[in-house]
Amino acid sequence: MMDRVKIEQELVEFFSTKETLDPTSLISEDTNLIEAGLDSMIMIELLLFIEEKYGFWIPEAYLTEEIFKNIKALSTSIIELSNNKNI
């Protein structure tokens, strides 16, 4: 069973190292990642991070504004997709 709190902490840590994201605000579970400046390169790094950490590649069809609304939404999607790895 995936630990949501742990996933969110790991994602906060991941995004906190991305220097092209808005440096004026601390990254938290509620940060809107799109508004913070999520670009293609960070998205690719995130997909690689998720693949390495949680064992699957998020299908491109799932990469919508909804999933990046904040880290809570992203962690929910990771848990749902991980439970359904026939994607």
Binding site: L38, D39, M41, I44, L48, E52, E60
Partner: protein, 484 residues
């Protein structure tokens, strides 16, 4: 001549036309005004003709205006990707003897290396300048516009110098087939640190509009295209895959051309995109030393893997490396000749006439022509790796891994990846066998994370006892087939 003058000409022709659409529309008149303000500020900070100025910024209208402002002062743009580590960026700053750097973040080592922070028009960014730069007269005779490293770092790559006249030749040759004009609105998704000449400069020189999407998620891009009536998409296969997977009913009715560049396009992505939008993707073959010699404008679905026919101003020949005297081999290394070729490599300095024999540039890519003259890229001779359009040499990874005190030697190599093209792995030989391989692998991985841009970091490191070598003792490298 100067590329800034070409923008001024476009502005005279179409002052009220949008040049850039981002958070707001910026007309050509507004853009040239912004350029002149920044140019004046740069001049106040001592930027002069022949200086080299680094840019470490994400895509934005300011990036474009800043580049033209640097040219307005007769100086040269040195793009430094924001993905690079501090060490990688500093290597470029020092080896290219930059007069100034405009960066999105602090450069902690800058003061140690004689770059001082300053204020002014750049209040949203950090500006560093150097009072003293070491003169380097090798390049004095060149009218330098760009100095770009083929992999974004200096290690195992050479700085490509492009002069203003060269860029103009390049964009003129490309536009004979692309026909960019004032009715065009290009939806831009690439990194400006890696793509600027036969793109941004081409578009603004021909009075087109460039739209910078708020983000590159498919929904946002499609909404933008429909709202702004985009006519051309210029993106990597990764972006096009995102679009092809979009489940909305939005279409690409206003689009006349979809160009895929930076990495090879898989048949899977091309077919899915065509199925979704009924528009074929046009693959383009471009190399920083050459420009854009091939574009697959015919692009019928049956020729997905092809980069198309050679543009009218260019010549391409194939040379079989195993039989170099054979004329017209079926497959071979791609050699290109034409306008807008590299002016020189920066360091060690090597001018055009010494880089290319009789004007022919050896690309290091392997290709073949079909019976209709369409070129396909089937492999590579050189070591360059390409991950989602980010290019670098495996030696950059190996030089970091080999710094670990227990490592004797290493090899890094790419594996196919459906979405990114390739990802890296590495094999390592230790100086002595160890019972702590897992811990050593973790240390090596941390070393990579501390010193390499994220996309270069090997996804897996394996400790082995042998690494294949060639007869001459070089590491034997294998690459996955391209164009699958």
């Amino acid at each position: 001549m100067n590329l800034y003058e070409l923008l001024r000409h476009s502005t005279k022709e179409h002052p009220e036309k949008p040049a850039i659409i981002a958070d707001k529309k910026i007309t050509y008149k507004e853009l040239i005004y912004e350029v002149s303000m920044i140019a004046e500020e740069l001049h106040k900070f001592g930027i002069e003709k022949k200086n080299r100025v680094g840019i470490i910024l994400s895509n934005s209208p300011f990036y474009i205006a800043l580049s033209y402002a640097i040219w307005a002062n007769g100086a040269c743009v040195v793009p430094i990707s924001t993905d690079l580590t501090e060490k990688e960026a500093l290597d470029i700053i020092l080896s290219t003897n930059l007069k100034a750097v405009i960066s999105h973040k602090q450069l902690p080592y800058a003061q140690v290396n004689n770059l001082k922070p300053a204020d002014g028009l750049f209040h949203d960014y950090y500006y560093f300048y150097s009072h003293e730069i070491t003169p380097n007269h090798a390049h004095d005779h060149l009218n330098m516009a760009f100095l770009r490293f083929t992999s974004g770092t200096t290690s195992a790559s050479k700085g490509v110098i492009l002069c203003h006249e060269t860029v103009l030749e390049r964009i003129s040759a490309a536009n004979k087939v692309l026909k960019i004009n004032t009715n065009d609105n290009i939806i831009w998704m690439l990194s400006m640190a890696h793509h600027f000449t036969v793109s941004i400069v081409l578009y603004l020189t021909n009075g087109a509009t460039i739209t910078l999407c708020k983000n590159h998620l498919a929904g946002q891009v499609l909404e933008t295209i429909n709202r702004e009536k985009g006519t051309i998409i210029y993106a990597t296969p990764f972006h096009l895959k995102l679009l092809s997977e979009n489940l909305s009913s939005l279409n690409l009715a206003s689009i006349r051309l979809v160009i895929s560049t930076a990495m090879s396009l898989s048949a899977n992505i091309a077919e899915k995109f065509y199925s979704r939008f009924s528009i074929p993707i046009t693959q383009a073959y471009g190399i920083i030393e050459i420009g854009l010699p091939c574009i697959n404008l015919d692009a019928p679905p049956g020729k997905i893997n092809s980069v198309g026919k050679v543009l009218p101003d260019y010549e391409i020949k194939l040379i079989d490396p195993n039989n170099p005297h054979e004329t017209n081999p079926k497959k071979g290394e791609i050699f290109v000749r034409g306008p807008g070729m590299i002016d020189a490599y920066y360091s060690p300095f090597k001018p055009r006439n010494l880089i290319m024999k009789d004007g022919w540039f050896a690309t290091g890519d392997l290709g073949q022509f079909d019976e209709e003259g369409n070129l396909s890229i089937i492999g590579r001779k050189k070591d360059l790796i390409n991950i989602a359009g980010m290019k670098f040499f495996p030696q950059e990874i190996e030089s970091i891994i080999n710094k670990h005190e227990l490592v004797k030697e290493s090899i890094s190599y790419p594996l196919r990846h459906d979405s990114l093209g390739e990802i890296m792995q590495a094999k390592v030989i230790l100086k002595e066998t160890s019972a702590h391989n897992e811990a050593i692998i973790r240390e090596i991985m941390q070393l990579c994370k501390n010193n390499l841009a994220p996309y270069k970091i090997p996804r897996k490191i394996e400790i082995v006892t042998t690494i294949p070598k060639t007869f001459s003792g070089k590491l034997k490298r294998h690459y996955p087939a391209i164009g699958m």
